[in-house]
């Protein structure tokens, strides 16, 4: 069933919100009153409800099926978290109302920080970054501030080729030069390769651990030591933290800064692309540079430090990442998730996440190819397209065929170091029965591909709200907003 655009069914004189008219008054807009029409069509409440319900029905979601996007950690989003975020005492407070009236909020932020630090073994935390990439920016700004504080002028950041695109983009955004670290055949970073690149010019290395090939960087301690010995810092991309909560503390691995995607590891909902939240934990070497605002834990309770005028000795924040205090709504959800799991549950969740990924690996290893052989993975398992050689089916075709089987595809063509990569992260939320069905479906698809049933793959998806979309056309002459059709084109319809 097709659903028109709002602009095709709405009318500028229809509204779905009622207001009482204000008593007469004299405007105080000066000469600034709007002269032009805005052209914003409205819908009555029943029409709006139906429009957005029907649109929603064109979406895939975790709640309706397995969502094996590697590196994205699409896990169950508990509704208790949503309920807690909507408590008036948490959802209906203003960031600038007197601090005396929001002490519960400050306590909540302090508590969230305590959990994050215990899980990571780090020293301090910046809660304000708004998403993972924003957390990276925060971490790298702290590193730049630390480099400056030492009076040094290091302008190189090392990034492995398997890294998320945000890593080089972040480093570049604040003027660093990005140098790529080559990967070993199995996708991990070779400490020798790092050492070869280290120099007094190097400010930091940005490493994802577990890495984007689903492997734990087994030489991480050696790399960290070398980086520190060279006077540089170790930034860790925490996107894959879900694999190691309660299993390893990054502070003990030598990390100086790591962002944590609350919307991955701690289940705040992805919402079709956000909002996220990207708190950054710091080692002792970087703690002083954490941005404003931050929570200072004092003897008689936590204090929210907002301005430079409130700083104490040893506090040298590099500035501010964002207006206000960060993603409180996500803090509530994440803390609700953490409290629910507890220490035991968090560890169990990581174990089950890793168990599930390996179970999928075990179910597919005989039919699908792994770039560095069949070895134990962390919370996601990486395949390449070797097994499709000669079939005429590409990774993209294979992924789109999964849609027709009722599944969201896995992450494709990432990491870039692997040809035709397929990165599967089932997460701990999936039951054995769910994984069994998933594995059976994929096995069936592989057999179909190998048996020459190619058309099915090239045509896929057939059973989705849309067939494959023409992305080239979209980019060639971008149509980014609705335009009223010309009268003649209406007549032609």
């Amino acid at each position: 069933i097709e659903e028109a655009l709002l602009f095709e069914i709405g009318r500028n004189d229809v509204t779905g919100v009622d207001f009482d008219d204000p008593a007469p008054f004299t405007e105080r807009l000066g000469k600034h009153a709007r002269k032009s029409s805005i052209d914003l069509p409205g819908l009555s409440e029943p029409e709006a409800m139906r429009h957005y319900v029907r649109l929603s029905q064109k979406n895939y979601s975790i709640d309706s099926g397995l969502y094996p996007l590697g590196s994205c950690t699409m896990k169950h989003n508990p509704r208790i978290n949503e309920k807690m975020a909507r408590l008036p005492g948490l959802g209906d407070i203003h960031p600038l109302q007197p601090l005396s009236t929001v002490q519960g909020a400050v306590e909540l932020m302090a508590e969230l920080g305590r959990w994050l630090l215990e899980m990571t073994g780090m020293t301090s935390v910046a809660l304000s970054p708004k998403a993972g990439a924003h957390g990276e920016l925060c971490g790298m700004m702290a590193i730049k501030a630390a480099v400056r504080a030492k009076g040094e002028n290091r302008n190189i950041v090392l990034v492995p080729e398997s890294a998320h695109g945000t890593n080089p983009a972040t480093a570049a955004a604040i003027g660093f030069k990005v140098v790529t670290v080559p990967a070993r055949p199995d996708g991990t970073v070779d400490p020798e390769a790092v050492k070869a690149l280290l120099s007094p010019e190097v400010a930091a290395i940005m490493l994802t651990n577990p890495n984007t090939c689903g492997l734990f960087e087994r030489d991480v301690v050696e790399i960290a030591a070398a980086v520190h010995a060279a006077g540089a810092f170790f930034y860790c991309d925490g996107a894959n933290f879900n694999a190691i909560v309660g299993k390893a503390k990054v502070g003990e691995l030598g990390v100086d800064a790591m962002h944590i995607n609350l919307h991955k590891t701690f289940s705040t909902p992805h919402g079709g692309g956000g909002p996220g939240a990207g708190p950054v934990v710091f080692s002792e070497r970087l703690s002083a540079f954490a941005p404003l605002p931050f929570i200072r834990v004092e003897a008689d309770g936590p204090v929210l430090v907002e301005n430079e005028s409130e700083l104490q000795a040893g506090e040298t924040p590099f500035g501010r990442m964002v207006a206000f205090h960060g993603q409180m709504g996500m803090f509530v959800r994440a803390l609700s998730y953490m409290l629910s799991h507890g220490a035991d549950g968090l560890q169990q969740a990581s174990e089950d996440a890793v168990l599930n990924a390996n179970y999928v690996r075990a179910g597919l290893r005989d039919l699908m190819s792994q770039p560095s052989g069949d070895r134990t993975c962390m919370h996601e398992v990486l395949f390449d397209d070797t097994f499709l050689d000669g079939t005429g089916v590409t990774t993209l075709d294979f992924a789109k065929a999964m849609i027709d089987e009722g599944y969201h595809p896995m992450t494709m063509y990432f990491p870039l170091v692997v040809h035709g990569a397929m990165l599967i992260e089932p997460t701990e939320s999936e039951s054995k029965a769910s994984l069994d069905l998933f594995v059976a479906t994929l096995r069936d698809l592989v057999m179909k591909a190998k048996s020459g049933d190619v058309e099915r793959f090239h045509q896929a998806p057939l059973y989705a709200p849309r067939r494959r979309l023409d992305e080239t056309r979209a980019a060639r002459s971008p149509k980014l907003k609705w335009e009223k059709p010309e009268p003649w084109s209406e007549a032609a319809e």
Partner: protein, 446 residues
């Protein structure tokens, strides 16, 4: 544990399939001496227990809806229709990922297309992106974009720009090696920004209504900026104002950024909010953030996809226009649904009620002895000079159960000349009784 589906029987069967004896065998890549055994944190808690813990924290805060409430300065208490909150909680919106697989995410994509169109119309611009984190980061990105477009490195910030926004721009520019010329705080709207614009200027950043509530005439600033080849970045932190106030686009702005929280999103102590970002067609390939575009599918049916991603980090890596990845999808959805419910007719009425309430409140408050209003023009927010320290007065009023506004010293600490200033906002949620309560309470504490 209620979120984990496996029974121990399941786990044993799965380990056997994998071919290992225990879960520990799956973690052997972690050096044994660094393996953690137990965190110093509480055990798993029942849902009842979680509700008690967080309920206790919530009870230590004073919610906006529980008192006469006049706090603004970049975040506003508006009424969000129940329909909005219901729809954004639908599984298909809430628990979906970024729409990288357009065939099965047309719902999210069409909403983003509607969002982009609404934002473009509201701001009077050609194109808008699919949202930023919030208004402050959108402003910082706008400055970076202006640098890219003009190939200059100096931004001028008006003294009416929200001090937090200024700090965010300054922090990032400082790191990137760019120049920021920030004018002093301008609570009376008397600064001469035109005089500061020179040939090195990449952009002028002006907020209207300003953080002090003044409506700013953007047209002359745009003219002067364009004269020297600079861009005008207009900032709107109270998007409802655009129901009554002329759009920045109509006044010549080149980039309009804003905070969209007012439409559809709760206060939530400052986040998550939704950053708006709109610009002229010619600059579209210099924009940061996601864009949703129209196209057709293999059967020729209209459909939507994320597009122009060659600007973005996951393709261009260190050459990207921004490092942004996650946006504010769900908040943008709330914005779009609320704006759809309002429509132009509803938005204009909403804006009118806000303005009316603020006008009445300003009139009442400025009659109090020693209180003066600094604004000639304003929308739903204005600045008062009080006969004493504004922060202390606000605390006194809070103790009486009235949240009166934002003392300027909260945003600009350590400046004695600003210490008596109070920024007061009034929206459609305020009743006559609320206004009377504030006036009476303020009379008492003065």
């Amino acid at each position: 544990m209620r979120f984990l589906p496996h029974s121990d029987t399941d786990r044993q069967a799965m380990l056997a399939s994998i071919g290992v004896a225990s879960v520990d065998d799956l973690f052997t890549d972690i050096p044994a001496d660094l393996r953690v055994h137990g965190l110093d944190l509480p055990k798993a808690a029942s849902e009842i227990s979680v509700e008690r813990t967080l309920g206790r924290l919530a009870a230590r805060n004073m919610p906006a809806s529980s008192v006469p409430f006049f706090v603004g300065a970049g975040a506003y208490k508006h009424h969000v229709p129940a329909t909005v909150d219901h729809l954004i909680q639908r599984s298909e919106f809430l628990t979906s990922y970024t729409p990288y697989q357009p065939e099965i995410t047309q719902g999210t994509l069409q909403v983003l297309f509607e969002f982009q169109t609404q934002v473009a119309h509201l701001t009077g611009m050609d194109v808008a992106n699919a949202s930023m984190y919030d208004g402050s980061t959108a402003t910082a990105e706008a400055v970076l974009m202006a640098h890219r477009v003009t190939k200059r490195k100096k931004a001028i910030l008006s003294g009416g720009l929200h001090p937090h926004y200024r700090a965010v721009v300054e922090s990032l520019s400082d790191m990137a090696g760019d120049v920021v010329a920030a004018l002093p705080a301008d609570p009376t709207s008397t600064e001469d920004i035109l005089a500061t614009i020179d040939k090195d200027t990449s952009c002028v950043v002006v907020q209207s209504p300003s953080v002090y509530g003044h409506l700013i005439d953007l047209a002359p600033i745009a003219a002067k900026a364009h004269e020297v080849g600079a861009l005008l970045v207009a900032v709107v932190t109270e998007i409802v104002s655009l129901g009554l106030v002329e759009s920045p686009g109509a006044q010549g702005a080149d980039i309009v950024v804003g905070e969209g929280q007012s439409i559809g999103n709760p206060l939530t102590f400052g986040g998550p909010y939704v950053g708006l970002f709109a610009t002229r067609q010619k600059y579209v390939r210099q924009m940061p953030g996601r864009l949703c575009g129209e196209t057709v599918d293999a059967e020729g049916r209209r459909g939507f996809v994320l597009t122009l991603s060659t600007r973005e980090q996951h393709i261009r890596r260190d050459k990207a226009t921004s490092n942004i990845c996650t946006n504010s999808g769900l908040c943008a959805l709330a914005f779009t649904i609320h704006m759809t419910l309002l429509g132009e007719a509803g938005l204009v009425r909403l804006a009118r009620i806000n303005h009316a309430n603020a006008v009445r409140l300003a009139d009442s408050l400025s009659e109090l002895p020693g209180v003066s209003l600094l604004n000639d023009s304003f929308f739903n927010e204005f600045t008062l000079r009080l006969p004493g320290d504004a922060a202390a007065i606000v605390e006194g009023l809070a103790a009486k159960g009235v949240l009166a506004g934002v003392p300027v010293s909260r945003l600009e600490p350590g400046k004695p000349e600003l210490a008596n200033l109070l920024i007061v906002a009034s929206t459609e949620v305020n009743t006559d009784e609320d206004r009377a309560a504030l006036v009476a309470a303020l009379r008492e504490v003065l």
